[in-house]
Every structure is written in C-alpha cells, then in structure tokens.
Subunit: 304 residues, 2 copies
C-alpha cells in the first residue's frame, strides 16, 4: 500500500514561464490518477517523465480554466498515441459537452473508451470504488460548483500471525485466505479458535484530501477528519483576507486552521497568487497554526 | 512600413517540453496580430516578452487542437488582466460556440469587446481591411475546413521629389498632401504639372503568406503570387510523401515547389513531425527546389 503524489503545477490564474496552473499526479495502490489539468499539464507530465499513458481517471475540481484547460489537449494526445485503455473523467456537469464539442469540431476519431462522470451533488458522495481504493467528493465553496476529492486506500486484509498459527498444528496453507478475511478457525474436534488469536490487524489505509479552490469552510472538516495528507489552497496571505473572501479563496492561516481542526497529519499548500514573490511567507503563516506544513512546487513529490 | 514575424511554435501535433505547437506573432504596419494559438502559446508570448496585450486580431487556420487549444486560455488571461481593448477572432465556424461555452461554464465576465468573424467560404476573401493593411484567406486542403492567411501592406502614398518641387517655385507646403495623394499641380497661369514629374512611386507594400495545414495544392499559387515571405507547412520529408497525402499534409519538397511556382521571395518552413530529429533535412530537401528557404524555430524572428 502506498500513495505517491507529484505536483505538476501549484499557481493560480494564468500560466507563466515558471508558474504552472493546478495539476497533480497521484498513484495510490497502483492506481494512476490525475487531479485537475490546467493548460500545459501534458508538458509537465512529460517533463517529470511520469508515464502519463497510465492515467486511468482524471478528477476535475471545477470549470475555471486554470484547473481544466489542459484536459482537451491531453485527451487529444492520448488519441494520437493510439491509446486503447479506458479513460474516466470525473468533473462538474458541463465538462462532457465542452470536450465532446471540441472533438467534434476537429473531426477526431476516439480510439478508446472515454467515460464522463458528471457531478452535481452538493453533499459528499462516493464517486469511485474498486477493491483497494475509494474516492469521495469534498463539496467546496467557490464562485462556481467545485469539489475537492478524498482519496482513501481501503483497509487491507488481516495479517497472519504465523507463530500462533504454527502452534495450532491443524491449520493448512489453504486456510490462510479465510483467516486473512477475518474468519474464525474450526478445529477437527469442532471447537473454535477466534480469528484475532491467529491474525493481526491489517495495515491502516492512508488517505489524501485535495481541496482547491475554496473559501474557508469548516463544513469540510468531518469529511477530511484524520486524513494523512491534506492539500488546501492558499491563494492569499492573511493581509488580503477580505480579498480572499470576495474571490472565495483561502489564506494560509485559514488553510492551516482547517488542517488543525481536521487533525490532518500533514498539510501541503499551493494555488499561490502571482502577486507574492516570497512563497515562504505562506509556509510561515500556516506554520503559526499548523506546524507540519509544506509548500508545493512543480516536480515535488510527497509519499505516504 | 514594416513586417516583423516571431515564431512561437513550429511543431505538429502534441506539445512537448521543447516542441511547441503552431503560433506566430505578427506586427505589420503597427498592427499586432496572432496567427494560430496552440496550447501554451500565452507562455511562449511571455517567454519572448512580446507585449501580448497589444494583440488586436487572432487568426485561427483550423480547429485541430495544435492550432487553437491555447486560445481560450489567452482570452481568459486577457480578462484577468482587465483588458478593455477590442479583440477580433477570425476562424472557422464553430470557434465562437466553443469559446463562449467555456466562458459560460466558468461564469466569467468579459470586460472587453470580443468579436468573432466565422469563416465558411471556400474561395479566397478579404476578411480584414484598414487604411494600411489587408488580410485575405488562402483556402487550404486539409482534413477539416482550413484557411491560410495573406497579410498585405497597402501601398503607401507617393513620395515628394523635393528637387523637382523646389524648381517650380510656386508649390507650397500646403500642396504636398495633394501631391502625395497623386494629384497633378495647377500653376497660377493655369497650366498643369503632371504628378509623376513632382513625385516618386510609393514604397511597395510587403506581403506575408501563412499556409498551415495543407496538402500540396497548386490552386493557392495565384493567391500568394510574388509574396515577400511564405510560410508553408512541411510536416514530412519526401520519404513519407504517401503519408503526407493520406494525412493531408505537405513534404518539404512540395512546400518548396509551391514557393517556386508562386515566385515567393523567401520560404520559411515548419509544423515538423516529431518523428524527425534532424530538422536540417527539411531545409536541405526544400533548398533543392527553392534556395531561399529557412527553418522556423521558437523565438526566431523574420523581418521585412
């Protein structure tokens, strides 16, 4: 079990020479996901040699350009590369129309399954699930309909306690699977050995919560409670907290307050406004409230 | 009178770390135009410090992504920068729908006049004209509806031949404008001095023809005849002339043949396929037919 996050861009608004809009590349339990896809994301994926043809699902938080203008280009590149693996796109209602219109105008033939999962709910919902991973939406408060995403590893199977198993003599390799699944063991004499005598608790699944863009909103705390890693946008510092409110963004102080309330293990911050030149000011402001805070930057990796 | 062209990108298909899709920045008689706008164009404009807020008109050849996916991002940036100057966009029918849909989805407020001039004609037409510049379409043959563009400086006023004017004694500064406009001069005794005795021919207006994407098509020759600078796409070398035909692109040999037939003064080539690593092969192949050929590359300038 592992989570590996690579930041592709962490600046707000317009793409600039050394400031790329939001996008993150996430591998979780061998699943490969892309989160947001600002203009130029496909070049960033190439730059960091991330093997982007493996991307199975793309999660788009909202339909502001700095979070999705690179999506149509990435899909077009997949087609030119003759992709045949399915691609699932999760994002606000409207995303399908805009992508399909552009494919239609270019008379492009789609040579792989392209599935849109359009989101409209204002409550958190489970939008992706397989045997090892779950993804839930985190409804955010922004100028347009926006979701963050909570990526969770599912709890694994119970671990065999071999010392105890061997002592029982009767337990065969064929029984191991049932033990891992939590079943008790019935001996030949009909007596029962409780599962927790023979096994140890499974490794706890890790979780990553992505929250961009949003104003300060305590209602997300129960959804992201105890997450291992929290990305929360910090467009502004607290000197511009009124502007943050008007534009429905957050300050570093506010992001850190959310991290503290949620009892997150680590906070990472980004979506910096271009007006700030010293990004360490963001870290400093956040750390006054929540010590374990790190800045994001293009190419930076976070591992759990 | 002057034409200055800066190449922003000259590669085909997908944007890569050091290979940018088609876009060109053109100043002609103090008008500022953008030709095509692949993904990442706004970053290229910034990189080469081209003062892109001055762009008055954007000409889009066709709706394949490598020629226009950067347009919505550029328009969004103009809005964030609180542009108030009008912006005119010339391109195939459909371009308005796709841009407006994306603005609508992001609930973006347009704070400047945004005008779309959708093209449908299959014959060359005059699409832009002011007192100093004309732009005509060059219908091209590609997989979707495509136009090249012919940018022409209008002929200036006639030049005063001061030696001859002074000899006449009677001619006042107030008469100069009429002479520049080509009028004859009437002396006090009622006799007439023909204009061409007192003036010299105006500087000839220069022209730039942009042709991308297209298969080999001699029918464009009369439209671009005698142009001073011709950009013609060369996606392939002649070893892949059959593929060029199938995909409706051109080889370097074909581009040079068009330049020769059109008696262009200079040919510049681009839209190189990523399969070629040595771009000098394109130059060499073209120069076998048309000597005055240059490669385009990002940041390169051509002046007339």
């Amino acid at each position: 079990m592992s989570i590996n996050l690579t930041i592709l861009g962490c600046h707000s608004a317009t793409p600039r020479v050394n400031a790329h809009p939001t996008s993150q590349f996430l591998t979780i339990n061998n699943r490969t996901f892309l989160i947001d896809c600002g203009e130029g994301t496909q070049v960033q994926l190439r730059k960091f040699k991330l093997g982007f043809t493996k991307i199975q699902c793309i999660f788009i938080s909202h339909l502001h350009g700095d979070h999705y203008f690179g999506l149509i280009g990435l899909i077009s590149t997949f087609m030119l590369h003759k992709r045949n693996q399915e691609l699932h796109i999760y994002g606000p209602k409207g995303i399908k129309e805009v992508i399909i219109l552009q494919l239609k105008l270019s008379k492009t033939w789609i040579n792989f399954g392209l599935y849109f999962h359009e989101l409209t709910s204002k409550s958190s919902e489970l939008i992706y699930e397989d045997e090892k991973v779950e993804v839930h939406t985190i409804p955010l408060k922004h100028r347009v309909y926006t979701n963050g995403f909570l990526f969770k590893e599912k709890e694994g199977m119970r671990k065999l306690n071999m010392a105890k198993i061997i002592k029982q003599n009767e337990i065969d390799v064929c029984d191991y699977r049932n033990l891992q699944l939590g079943k008790d063991f019935i001996k030949e004499d009909g007596s029962l050995v409780k599962n927790d005598v023979l096994t140890l608790p499974p490794t706890q699944g890790k979780s990553y919560a992505f929250c961009s863009d949003t104003m300060y909103d305590e209602s997300i705390v129960p959804i992201i409670k105890n997450c291992d890693l929290l990305y929360h946008e910090t467009t502004f510092l607290k000197d511009l907290k009124e502007l943050a409110k008007t534009t429905m963004h957050s300050t570093a102080f506010e992001a850190a307050t959310i991290a503290k309330m949620a009892e997150a293990k680590q906070l990472i911050i980004g979506h910096f406004s271009s007006r700030y030149t010293n990004l360490n000011d963001f870290k400093q402001e956040a750390q006054e409230v929540f010590k374990n805070t790190a800045l994001t930057s293009a190419g930076k990796e976070f591992q759990l």
